[in-house]
Amino acid sequence: MTTDVPFRILPQLDDRNRHFWTSGAQGVLQILRCQQCGYYLHPPTPICPECRSTDLAAEAVSGEATVVTFSINHQQWMPGPEVPFVAAIVELVEDPSVRLRTNIVGCAPDDVHIDMAVTVVFEHHPDPDGDIYIPLFTPRSSSGGTEA
């Protein structure tokens, strides 16, 4: 696996999203969860849409997910990963209604398929505003590290 970290446009951190983009420092993926009814909120919002509670907290999830759909991107739209790379939407095993847009890494693009089991890996981007750990996903069978 390459150790080169591609250029990425990094997310603007705020109190609502910080857990999602930085918890990779601890090697875990965190999703905001309602402490009253257990609903996972993604993207994070200040009120639980299920029970209207504001008692919310970021919780670690397993990082295991399933590919719902994907596209092998061949067009170099902007500086970024070497093309072709895989754009995907994955659903978390804890709650399939929680979906993440991501890239699938650590395998040949042609090997990616719908329903593929994947696990999170983090791409570390040092940044003066706070280090960002972008959650990417890799085939579950080949997982071994936490750095993409």
Partner: protein, 403 residues
């Protein structure tokens, strides 16, 4: 549930005139001039004068970014033509590009205005210039230090700035669930090109074969180059008029029989409940709750093709074919040809005609219903047209009936 008859106020309105500016790949003309060219043509086509216009509605209104996405806001046109507006609107957060038409219908239906000038103006071709799409993408020069937030927070950090990639993932899911093939998808593009050959204003008019389509480079699988529409410069305008005020106008009013604006799923490119469809599903179903007409009454269909898959999505959403069968519906291209059972995207759509962003379809539907589509006129005097625009969480549709 069926809407109450008295509440369907779009039916008190209709299209009385249309206009279009010069259209080209890269015109390097003043975008406001293009916009006004289309607006004045539409006012004239309706048999009206500027003094008759008392409302203005546009999509998306003034926006500095992305460059070229909009050529004028409502207030630019109001000021340039000295319109005495009782109503104006320019908004991105509405039911797609045609949301600006719906807003005009609501204003007329509510008695705020009698004749609303509606327009959509783009100059993406010139904005991109010789640098191509990269010129309007983030990540270059000063913008490389910009942070992603809001809508872009969930796309830019994953290096997917283009709707091509987002929509490609929907197409992939549709293929997975229903067995839709790349060759079926191709027919949306091939049909568009064959119609564009007959449209002197279309951008791409050279004949295209299935081999040409398949040989073109992959952009974001399964979408190839010709599954993506072509950026251009141009403006389109239409007049939405109160029915009672249109009786003496030169053209038969194109009644807005029903609109579809619903968005039932989460308004998101990734959290929508079914990734093989979009808000197209909700807007399409909504339209049929506001009319006694049914999909079998539709004579011609002008269905958005910013990317080819969107046309398939609208075919299913509007009940013009069963869910999952849009690929088979367009395959071979006979059914959707000018002389087929459902002529589709008769001007060449945006794939070959240019990315006039929704309004081009409305313009073409009006031409066809008025029998003015020289060289590509659908025979048999079509009476009912469905027009749909947008994708993802930005979808709206209209049903037009010639009075």
């Amino acid at each position: 549930m069926r809407a109450d008859e008295n509440d369907i106020i779009e039916r008190r309105t209709g299209i009385s005139g249309i206009g279009q500016s010069e259209i080209g790949r890269r015109l390097y003309r003043d975008p406001l001039q293009l916009t006004l060219e289309a607006c004045l043509a539409a006012i004239d086509d309706a048999g009206l004068t500027i003094d008759d216009i008392d409302g203005v509605s546009t999509y998306p209104g003034s926006m500095a970014q992305p460059v070229g996405y909009t050529g004028a806001g409502a207030i630019d046109v109001i000021d340039a033509l000295r319109i005495k507006a009782k109503y104006h609107n320019g908004a991105l957060e509405t039911s797609g590009q045609l949301g600006s038409i719906v807003n005009a219908c609501l204003a007329v239906g509510a008695g705020l205005a009698d004749h609303v000038l509606c327009f959509r103006s783009v100059w993406e071709g010139s904005a991109q210039g010789s640098a191509g799409r990269a010129a309007v993408m983030p990540g270059q020069g000063e913008s490389s230090s910009v942070k992603a937030s809001g809508f872009s927070e969930w796309s830019l950090p994953f290096s997917m700035p283009s709707a091509a990639t987002w929509i490609a993932m929907y197409a992939q899911r549709h293929m997975h669930l229903y067995g839709t093939t790349e060759e079926q998808l191709a027919w949306v593009a091939l049909n568009a090109r064959r119609n564009a050959e007959r449209n002197p204003n279309a951008i791409y008019r050279d004949p295209m074969t299935m081999d040409d389509y398949l040989a073109a480079r992959m952009i974001s699988s399964p979408l190839r180059l010709f599954d993506c529409d072509v950026p251009c410069d141009g403006a389109t305008a239409v007049i939405v008029s109160r029915r009672e005020r249109a009786a003496d106008l030169p053209k038969p009013l194109l009644r807005i029989e029903a609109v579809g604006t619903a968005m039932a799923g989460r308004p998101s490119w990734d959290q929508f409940d079914d990734l093989s469809t979009m808000s197209t599903r909700d807007a399409g179903a909504h339209l049929w709750t506001r009319t006694d007409l049914t999909p079998s009454d539709v004579d011609i269909a002008q269905l958005y093709d910013g990317f080819s898959f969107l046309t398939l999505s609208w075919l299913e959403a509007l009940g013009l074919c069963p869910v999952g069968e849009s690929g088979a519906f367009v395959e071979g291209g006979e059914r959707i040809a000018l002389d087929g059972e459902l002529p589709l995207n008769t001007s060449g759509g945006q794939l070959s005609g240019g990315r006039l962003h929704g309004y081009g379809f409305l313009h073409e539907a009006a031409l066809q219903l008025w029998g003015e589509a020289d060289g590509r006129q659908v025979t048999g005097d079509p009476q009912v047209a469905v027009v749909a625009a947008g994708g993802g969480n930005t979808c709206g549709c209209l049903l037009l009936v010639k009075e």
